[in-house]
């Protein structure tokens, strides 16, 4: 089904192959196909509409990387948008379990969504990973043997369950659970509630009453990842009655495309905390936005292809540069090109991000340690040089520097910093060349099963080896500066 999406995207863009930036018409044509893909993945229609509009705005004007078709580029941008939305950014707070005990976690959701199993999994996770003393209580007096089910799961996971007292109402059980937890020194009490429909007024009111009586620290909506368009109704209905704090997506081990994740994230506005990935009681994982985005879009191969193309392109450029360098030709124009690539790193994660030090640079930029305006300022300095000066920076006299500083609205000190950076980068490039070039390095990195962390290579490192991580780390690294690229330490925020 999705081969045909790639094919159709290819068809639309065949005539456009190789053109520069994405135009609005191109993007909208591609987005029509993306829309169908999202709907087939069960993303709810209103969410699809909003999402497509936002992604369209982002895609218009974006550069198409060499050797990639515009359609593929659009897919990559859509994927990035999906990941961003699903992950909810950096500021997802941790589960509120470190409050004055007992922390109360309430599980809510439709019938058959997987609440009871998820309750046992979460309890077990809290017990083993967070070393919490956990109590579980089933408030499900509706489904036959539901309380018994949780009791058995408690035995299997060695998590305490509240003794069953027949005839109590859900609110009474919840209050008893909280009280027992307090008296018996439990850190966390998990309340497993009965499944209910958003349109069932009586049961929705009961749920609100339970929340009112126990004042939970977390209210997690448990949602089946097989859910279709109804996801928006469910999310809205539960959100309207209790203060949801997160979502657990169950049955992610199934083969559904899982569009409900996007619907839930958009409508509840709360983070997706966990994914249930099996019937076993340890099959609970932290939610992985990347993986789920790939699954919803069903275009993982294309996303990977664009990423690789971007990396290759950058590698080619770097290789060319290294060659120039070997002949002593790394000039100011080359430095400017490097800066341009760094600016692009916001949108692309190619080789640059993989290179030791560059990842840190990007992180530093993102975190504001390096002002992105700085790159503009550096570019302005280079642009204020004459062509001759850019090709041969060594001719820059004090007088010329003053002119450049004035022309770029900076100071001579800043100009000197750019020159120094150029020098250090040139040196680094020379060393890289000696070690087998960028491609050699990339091969080695992929051989190691991925890029090293932004912290760069291992400290020390044995000398003499053709390529050793320690040398790479030293090459790009700067102690105390989170391994920024050469010369960058001088531009840290003052």
């Amino acid at each position: 089904m999705f081969d045909s999406l790639s094919e159709r995207l290819g068809g639309i863009f065949d005539r456009l192959r190789g053109r520069g930036a994405l135009t609005e018409i191109d993007v909208r044509a591609a987005m029509r196909e993306v829309r169908v893909a999202l709907l087939e993945a069960d993303v709810a229609l209103p969410v699809v509409k909003d999402f497509i509009e936002a992604a369209t705005q982002r895609a218009i004007g974006a550069e198409v990387i060499k050797s990639v078709t515009p359609g593929q580029q659009v897919v990559k941008i859509v994927n990035d948008c999906l990941v961003e939305l699903l992950s909810g950014g950096e500021d997802v707070p941790p589960l509120k379990i470190n409050v004055t005990p007992p922390a109360v976690i309430m599980m809510v959701g439709l019938q058959g969504s997987g609440k009871t199993t998820s309750t046992a999994k979460l309890a077990s996770w809290l017990g083993t990973r967070e070393r919490k003393k956990v109590l579980m209580a089933s408030l499900d007096v509706a489904r036959p043997a539901a309380q018994e089910q949780l009791r058995v799961l408690g035995e299997q996971t060695e998590i305490a369950t509240l003794p069953i007292i027949p005839g109590q109402t859900p609110v009474q059980i919840a209050e008893r659970a909280r009280q027992s937890a307090r008296l018996q020194g439990f850190d966390v009490v998990l309340l497993d509630t009965a499944g209910r429909l958003g349109v069932d007024e009586a049961l929705m009111a009961e749920m609100a009453a339970i929340a009112g009586a126990t004042n939970p620290d977390e209210i997690l909506l448990v949602v089946d990842s097989l859910t279709g368009q109804d996801a928006v109704n469910v999310a809205a209905a539960f959100k309207a009655r209790v203060a949801l704090t997160g979502v657990i997506l169950t049955r992610m081990d199934g083969d559904a495309r899982g569009g409900a994740a996007l619907s839930m994230r958009s409508v509840t506005g709360t983070p997706i905390r966990f994914a249930g990935t099996g019937e076993k009681l340890d099959a609970l994982e932290a939610f992985d936005a990347n993986r789920v985005a790939g699954r919803i879009l069903g275009m993982g191969d294309i996303v990977g292809l664009v990423e690789k193309a971007a990396a290759n392109f950058e590698a080619e450029q770097a290789e060319k540069m290294a060659e120039k360098l070997a002949k002593g030709q790394f000039d100011m124009d080359d430095l400017r090109q490097q800066l341009g690539q760094m600016k692009k790193m916001g949108g692309l994660s190619g080789l640059a991000a993989m290179m030791p030090g560059m990842g840190a640079a990007k992180k530093a930029m993102d975190s504001g340690a390096i002002n992105p305006k700085l790159l503009d300022r550096m570019e302005a300095i280079i642009l204020s040089m004459t062509a001759k000066e850019r090709a041969k920076p060594e001719i820059l006299t004090a007088k010329r520097k003053i002119r450049i500083a004035n022309g770029s609205g900076t100071t001579v000190q800043d100009v000197n910093k750019v020159l120094k950076m150029h020098q250090e980068m040139a040196n680094a490039m020379k060393r890289l060349k000696k070690m087998g070039g960028i491609k050699g390095m990339m091969k080695m990195l992929s051989g190691m099963g991925g890029a090293p962390g932004p912290e760069g290579g291992a400290p020390g490192g044995d000398p003499g080896g053709a390529i050793d991580m320690g040398a790479l780390g030293r090459m790009f690294g700067r102690p105390g500066m989170g391994n920024l690229p050469p010369g960058f330490n001088k531009f840290g925020r003052k």
């Binding site: 069960d42 439709l110 036959p144 349109v199 097989l226 109804d230």
Partner: protein
């Protein structure tokens, strides 16, 4: 109250939304233009018919010329009619014509298998049949206890073993007992399983095979229970459970919620499997026959 009554009562909100989607753009009698066709298509998508089926229905409507124009109610009626026509050939109640008639109930986790079994038992018993249940979910915690409680409430005998036991041999024993005891209908519960778990699906195939040793025609029915809140994956479920367990008919549950169950329309076109009944609540009386007109009407909001 009929399920249709419940549906329209409980769902006025989401139904209205859908109705607004499908029409609500215009008052009065107007041509069925692109904008209204768009709205129809979106309404169908929002009801889980899937983008392709929705586009096909839209095209069919666009082909019919409404030269004199058509008002909102007219549009809804036309769409409902189109949907009902697709569903009409698959609306078939479950007939009891064997003795014992062995019914195997399958589906993904939590779709409503066990509850549906209680409802069916209730229905057949009210029809004067001797009904027996078999607790074939030997995997999930308290699944046996759950079915026992239902058997008790309905007032029918149950064959049950221990949790962790072999489902196939339990099913075998149950069929044997049903034959010996002159039972009319034996309904066998199974553990929920996702259709992409080949190991679990193989087990299901084994249950079916073992039953066939006693009566080559058994199980006479293999019911796949689908949850109405499920999206396009339902089609996948029908396909794989069909291949592995030879599904003979469908039951859709949870139609008392806000989900519309539109993938049944796509399923009817693609597989043509009979739809026997629908679940509209958690009680044992909450089972209704499947009627295409009512289903289509609820789907497009002509209530």
């Amino acid at each position: 109250m009929s399920w249709f009554g419940r549906l329209t009562e409980g769902l006025s909100k989401s139904t209205k939304k859908l109705a607004n989607n499908i029409t609500g753009l215009a008052t009065g009698t107007l041509p069925l233009d692109e904008e209204r066709l768009d709205a129809i298509e979106e309404g169908l998508i929002a009801a889980d018919l899937g983008p392709r089926v929705a586009a096909r229905i839209r095209e069919r409507l666009a082909d019919q010329k409404y030269a004199k124009g058509i008002d909102d109610d007219g549009v809804r009626a036309v769409v409902a009619d189109e949907v009902a026509q697709i569903l009409a050939p698959v609306a078939r109640p479950l007939a009891i014509i064997r003795k014992p008639q062995v019914i195997l109930v399958v589906g993904v986790n939590g779709s409503g298998k066990t509850t549906t079994i209680a409802k069916l038992a209730r229905l057949f018993k009210a029809d004067g049949k001797q009904v027996m249940l078999a607790a074939g979910d030997t995997f999930r915690a308290a699944a046996i206890a759950q079915l026992k409680i239902w058997a008790d409430r309905v007032g029918v005998p149950i064959v049950a073993g221990d949790q962790g036991g072999d489902a196939a041999s339990l099913a075998f024993d149950a069929v044997k007992r049903a034959m010996d005891e002159g039972i009319d209908v034996l309904i066998i519960d199974t553990a929920g399983r996702l259709q992409n778990k080949t190991g679990l699906m193989d087990e299901l195939a084994k249950v079916k095979r073992v039953i066939g040793k006693l009566d080559p025609a058994a199980p006479h029915d293999v019911l796949l229970v689908l949850d109405a809140t499920t999206g396009q994956n339902a089609l996948n479920q029908i396909e794989v459970f069909g291949q592995v367990a030879g599904v003979t008919g469908l039951v859709m549950t949870k139609l008392d919620g806000s989900a519309r169950g539109g993938m049944l329309v796509a399923a009817a076109e693609k597989f043509g499997l009979p739809i026997h009944a629908i679940g509209v609540g958690e009680g044992m009386d909450d089972l209704q026959p499947f009627t295409p007109q009512d289903f289509a009407a609820a789907l497009v909001g002509t209530a």
